[in-house]
Symmetry: C2
Subunit: 81 residues, 2 copies
């Protein structure tokens, strides 16, 4: 089973990388751009085939390692191989 | 209009960050994990309201700045505000 995990900064947390991208896009001539936020995207292949168990496993992974729950949120989708 | 962009390494490109996550998950006791790949996730808010134009604008952004087309792929979804 494949998990596609998105980790994003919580609203209100400063995002200097996002700001840098926003300025760079402006400098390249793109207009009407705002609120650029950068996060992480992680793909994990799990041996687990039961969807409920895989979901619990990915939640645990996100909370223990992948996301910093103080400043980040996570969301994910699961897909059968 | 909001664009949600995923930038991933092309297949075959080494991903040391993904490998580090895979090892760390193993060390935390997660089993049956493989093929961990880390990419970037970027959210951009566009002033453009026409979907076709927004799509062309995001493609241009990805190719000119956000993704390194030699080693990375991008995909995105657009969502009306």
């Amino acid at each position: 089973m494949k998990a596609r995990i998105k980790i994003t900064l919580k609203a209100g947390v400063l995002d200097p990388q996002g700001k840098a991208i926003e300025h760079a896009l402006g400098a390249l001539g793109f207009s009407g751009i705002k609120d650029v936020r950068q996060g992480k995207y992680i793909e994990v292949t799990l041996a687990e085939t039961d969807e409920a168990k895989a979901q619990a496993q990915v939640e645990k992974m996100c909370e223990e390692l992948l996301a910093n729950m103080v400043i980040e949120n996570y969301s994910f989708t699961l897909e059968k191989d």
